[in-house]
Symmetry: C2
Subunit: 272 residues, 2 copies
């Protein structure tokens, strides 16, 4: 297939390289020249895209606002499959489905990334074995969706899950967005600067993804405001129960809270 990837950051460039390796013709489009040259030099794309002309599929791999603008205004060919890769989906669907489109939209969200961004962090096996969420709506073209699933397999994804945009946004609020807030907040303890030698694995795990790009993540949080607010409020409430037990010296309650968490933990780990 002829595929155009617009936005050669870590997500777009890794996807370009994986699809090119799978035998597709991949053209790259990027606002700055540097990434195009890097992608060409590293065989991540076949050439630069002058336009979307001739594309069977386009992946718009830009930040949320820029993605929505492109999906609204981009000059996509008739019947072309157009995918976004945003970490929020209801907001994107709202723009796409606000009027009839020539193109066929399929929402995707690759559940892979690194603590760093940009094309220098891209790798051709970033998606190997990873999860991909694909969103479907009443207006989704089934053939387009099936094609995207095949492309996902070509790119190396190990598990593909389909759901509505709302379901995506609710679950991602828990699995990704809340985790980044907790991690960001966790590392603000004044003691975090003097823990060398005092860490096993748990502190690293808590703080690993805390170094977020504040502009991108503020956008993501506000596009997923209600589900995220629910999860964050609930977590604060739960943490406050442990605090209360500790403050009041209530060992039985602490044991009860920990047991409840252990049982939940065992349950979702066994269902994974």
């Amino acid at each position: 297939m002829n595929i155009v990837i617009y936005g050669l950051g870590i997500i777009g460039a890794s996807l370009a390289a994986a699809l090119k390796d799978a035998g597709h013709t991949v053209l790259g489009k990027n606002r700055s020249r540097g990434a195009i040259e890097y992608a060409l030099a590293h065989q991540m794309i076949d050439k630069e895209a002058a336009s979307y002309e001739g594309a069977d599929a386009v992946f718009v791999a830009l930040p949320p606002d820029a993605t929505m603008k492109e999906l609204d205004e981009g000059d996509f060919p008739e019947c072309c499959i157009v995918c976004d890769i945003c970490g929020v989906k209801e907001a994107v669907e709202k723009v796409v489905f606000s009027k009839p489109r020539k193109y066929r939209y399929v929402g995707t969200h690759p559940m892979a990334g690194k603590e760093t961004s940009g094309i220098l962090s891209a790798s051709r096996d970033l998606y190997r074995g990873k999860n991909l969420v694909i969103t479907r709506a009443a207006k989704t073209d089934e053939e387009a969706l099936e094609t995207v699933k095949r492309l996902a397999c070509d790119a190396g994804f190990g598990y593909i899950v389909e759901c509505t945009a709302r379901e995506h946004d609710e679950k991602i609020a828990l699995t990704s967005q809340l985790a980044h807030i907790v991690s960001n907040a966790y590392g603000k303890s004044p003691l975090a600067l003097s823990v060398k030698g005092f860490t096993g694995g748990s502190f690293q795990d808590m703080t690993r993804v805390g170094g977020v790009d504040e502009t991108l993540w503020t956008d993501l949080y506000f596009y997923d405001r209600e589900p995220l607010l629910n999860e964050l409020s609930d977590l604060i409430e739960r943490l406050t129960e442990y605090k209360k037990a500790l403050k009041e010296g209530d060992r039985e309650e602490m044991q009860r809270l920990l047991r409840e968490g252990r049982l939940a933990h065992d349950k979702f780990f066994s269902e994974k």
Copy 2:
């Protein structure tokens, strides 16, 4: 050296095997027979210890309460080095230094573990490259402490840090205890049961250590109550700031909070 390890769970048995591999004579003591037989069959100990007689060093690798009882009442030989491996240190020192002891106490806390416990989870390279915290007090015997450091190197630890019991307890409240509470609480979201396919690495990191043994960890939390209460209260306060920004639609404040966390994150990651 002749070393006795009392308590052949994951921590004790892994230590026994590593020290035996390094050429020491290691005797095991355990309340149940099963672990002794397993340790003998897997060359983790040389033989069972009938008593502490002839021991140059003893590691008491029991849960906190049992450790303190043993340090208070155990029949250790004159001048024998006796170490605990507890995750709290002030409480242990308080017991040890409450009266003159024939033995020489050195507190240790191996910063290594797994999500599972018991001798079946033990491994001879559990401590390879890991951190060990050693606590020192005014009453600490310097020669004993130096010997324990050499034993730690023999066991494979990669980095050894010395500090007071108080300093240990404050930092561990952040690096370990709080992380286990957050992880335990995080996994209680009702959505946690239906996230298959919706996870990258951050959800796994947040929930990995959540399946805690509620009896052991309640003990640890209550022995480290004040430092832990401080860290937990502070984290709840910080999370509430993000919640407020989200609730009030204050994007600038959200960006400020995330930037603050990113800078803290970059700072301690660069100092690691």
